[in-house]
Amino acid sequence: MTRQERTAWLFTAPVLAIIAAMLVLPVTLALALSLTDYSIYALADWSNVRFVGLGNFAELLRTALFWRALANTALFAALGVPMAIGASLGAALLLHDTTVRWKPLWRVALFAPYVTSVVATAVVWRFLLNTRFGLINYALGWLSLPPVDWLGDPHASIPAILLFVTWKIFGYNMIVFTAALSSVPQDLMEAARLDGASRWGRFRHVTLPAIGPTLLLASVMSVAGFLQIFAEPYVMTLGGPAQSTVTVLYFMFDEGFKWWNLGQASAVALILFILILAITFVETRIGKRNQWL
């Protein structure tokens, strides 16, 4: 080892040690835990723990609620990611327009929900979504549409929570997209305009390729975020009605921290980890093919 290499190791050692202690070790332990039947009985007596191999995974596969949680989470991600990114991009494009005045004010106003507390805003949204007195149903009444039982109908509960989540998080990616849009080369834009490209054509062939990498980053982060959705259903619906908003993470929380089946909960965590890893891998492949990476 040269002196330079030694110095490099010395400098990185603290960080590596922290990563080992805070990330590698707990993840390995969780992995080990997922192969045991660690439950509340183990808290009573360690000798009650048995090695069960892949037993937890087999048990999960025959638990109806786990499949329901997977399906709910998939629905959250499939609807939520386009909704959230669409809202962010739309807002960023609107704000980017040269005719818009008081831009800083709009940016702050639209970013504000992102930094407010989930619980406080959830309480407000529960009032907005109230079937009988809520503002949203009042607005639907104006359009002479029938009222929707947002949080009480198993088919409306996921869209209702997605409305709330989208409103809450779109500000973050909006700021990221605003930064990306300002880097779109103006001369290309003007050249396209001179060549008679339409508004859509300019967006499709000039703006989109320029912000492609940012879009990829936003979608990777959003997919990972939506697959881990927990706090919103926890405070809005407690997983109901009829368990229609129980997500994978919610299921894991119940198993692990409410009922102390840490073996089972670790198995859920591992499955979720593999899922997110696989989807991210596919996304980066798409990004590479489009030369965004």
């Binding site: 039947d37 439950s39 509340i40 009985y41 808290l43 009573a44 009650n48 048990e59 638990t63 529960r126 009032f127 109230n130 079937t131 949080l151 009480g152 198993p154 809005m236 619906t237 407690l238 109901g240 009605p241 009829a242 368990q243 921290f257 409410k258 009922w259 102390w260």
Partner: protein, 400 residues
């Protein structure tokens, strides 16, 4: 700082005490008398009841349980099994206890906690709305009770009658106790819901929803059930003694002459009903067992329990406290009667979870996603799955 603390002798840190819901909020009122008599300071923490179970388990796992804490009777077996509780050191702490409360608190005949208060489920009802419908008193049998609901519903079609929400398991469980459903079998290691008794309870429960007498709603949708009751959107609310405190605090919304209390209706008149009893327990890991048990003795004295009854409506667990004139108020009579007929839930670690899962299935029945026979089979399967570990340990002879 150092100079000022030199003269006085270092005070021992305060005892830590956790309690949930109103007991937690109002416990500080009981502490000055204790501190004055013993010189021991107590640090009271009110733990939100919805998160109490996981919070206390996590505290035990992390070795930070408080010296003394309140424990619902359903959790005593669980916390005793994991070794979190110190056994009650002297038998005189649990003499003079209402039999129902003591029976709920004991685990295999052993005392791990001292009963503090007893809360049988009863029904609060709107006297004025019943009178408008031609009822001077509350019907006691299921059929007459439901018929009364229909009469009120006919007069007020836009409102509901029974305030029982789809994630509150106690109404359904009271019905299961009333029909005598046994629920578990084989030394509490398997589900036993496929029975005529359970089916009858489910059918009656379901009919309240199909006839629109009760709302298809979760507690997350009814933000303020008390206000809904006060506004007459519900005429009957199966609930607990602590509602007496709400009725007192918010008497501007609903005057005292508009409501009354009765025992829950049963298939043929009132029977056993769900009962929550709160108890006080001492952590096995406490460094000051003497002070801790002194606090338990103070909290569960007849004087403290009567004070608590006045403050939050809780009913005393000390039998001698019931001789007090304070407890002869007519409004408390249904509670006293119901306490003589408590329902005994199986004392197994998993019971809390089983109740919640049964209610989840019941919700699916109410929403038309399952029929009752399907639901009962689903429940049995699910319980067998939840009890798998217990079954293995019972078969191995490690627990009973």
């Amino acid at each position: 700082m150092a100079a000022t603390s030199c003269g006085s002798k270092p005070a021992s840190p305060p005892l830590r005490f956790w309690a949930t819901s109103y007991e937690g909020d109002y416990s500080p009122h009981l502490m000055p008398a204790f501190t004055a008599a013993t010189g021991i300071e107590v640090d009271v923490q009110s733990v939100p009841s919805t998160a109490a179970h996981e919070k206390m388990l996590t505290a035990y796992a992390g070795g930070v349980l408080p010296d003394v804490f309140m424990l619902p009777s359903g959790w005593i077996g669980e916390f005793a099994t994991i070794g979190a509780l110190a056994p009650v050191p002297s038998p005189d702490l649990v003499t003079d206890i209402v039999p129902a409360a003591l029976a709920l608190a004991q685990v295999e005949g052993k005392n791990w906690a001292v009963p503090w208060a007893a809360a049988p489920q009863v029904q609060f009802y709107r006297r004025d709305l019943l009178q408008d419908a031609g009822y001077a008193s509350m019907p006691t049998s299921w059929n007459a009770w439901r018929e009364m609901g229909r009469t009120i519903k006919r007069r007020r079609p836009d409102e509901f009658v029974f305030l029982t929400l789809l994630n509150w398991p106690d109404t359904l469980f009271s019905m299961l106790y009333q029909t005598g459903a046994s629920m578990l079998r084989d030394h509490n290691t398997r589900g036993n819901f496929r029975s005529a008794a359970a089916e009858a309870a489910f059918a009656f429960y379901l009919s309240l929803f199909t006839e629109n007498l009760a709302p298809r709603a979760l507690s997350t949708e009814v933000q303020d059930p008390f206000a809904a009751f006060a506004q007459g959107r519900y005429a009957v609310w199966p609930s607990w003694p602590t509602l007496l405190l709400d009725l007192h605090r918010r008497r501007a919304e609903i005057p005292a002459d508009r409501w009354a209390v009765a025992r829950l209706a049963g298939p043929n008149g009132p029977g056993p009903a769900a009962m929550i009893a709160s108890n006080v327990a001492v952590s096995a890991a406490t460094a000051r067992p003497k002070a801790a048990w002194a606090l338990v003795r103070h909290l569960t004295s007849a004087t403290s329990e009567l004070r608590f009854q006045q403050l939050i409506g809780n009913l005393p667990a000390r039998a001698s406290a019931w001789a007090s004139p304070q407890l002869q108020a007519p409004v408390l009579r249904p509670f006293a009667e119901q306490m003589r007929e408590p329902a005994m839930a199986p004392k197994i670690i998993e019971w809390e979870r089983i109740q919640i899962e049964v209610q989840l299935v019941a919700e699916r029945v109410v929403r038309g996603l399952l029929t009752i026979p399907q639901a009962l089979a689903t429940i049995d399967d699910r319980i067998d799955q939840i009890l798998a570990k217990r079954r293995a340990l019972v078969e191995a002879g490690r627990i009973v």
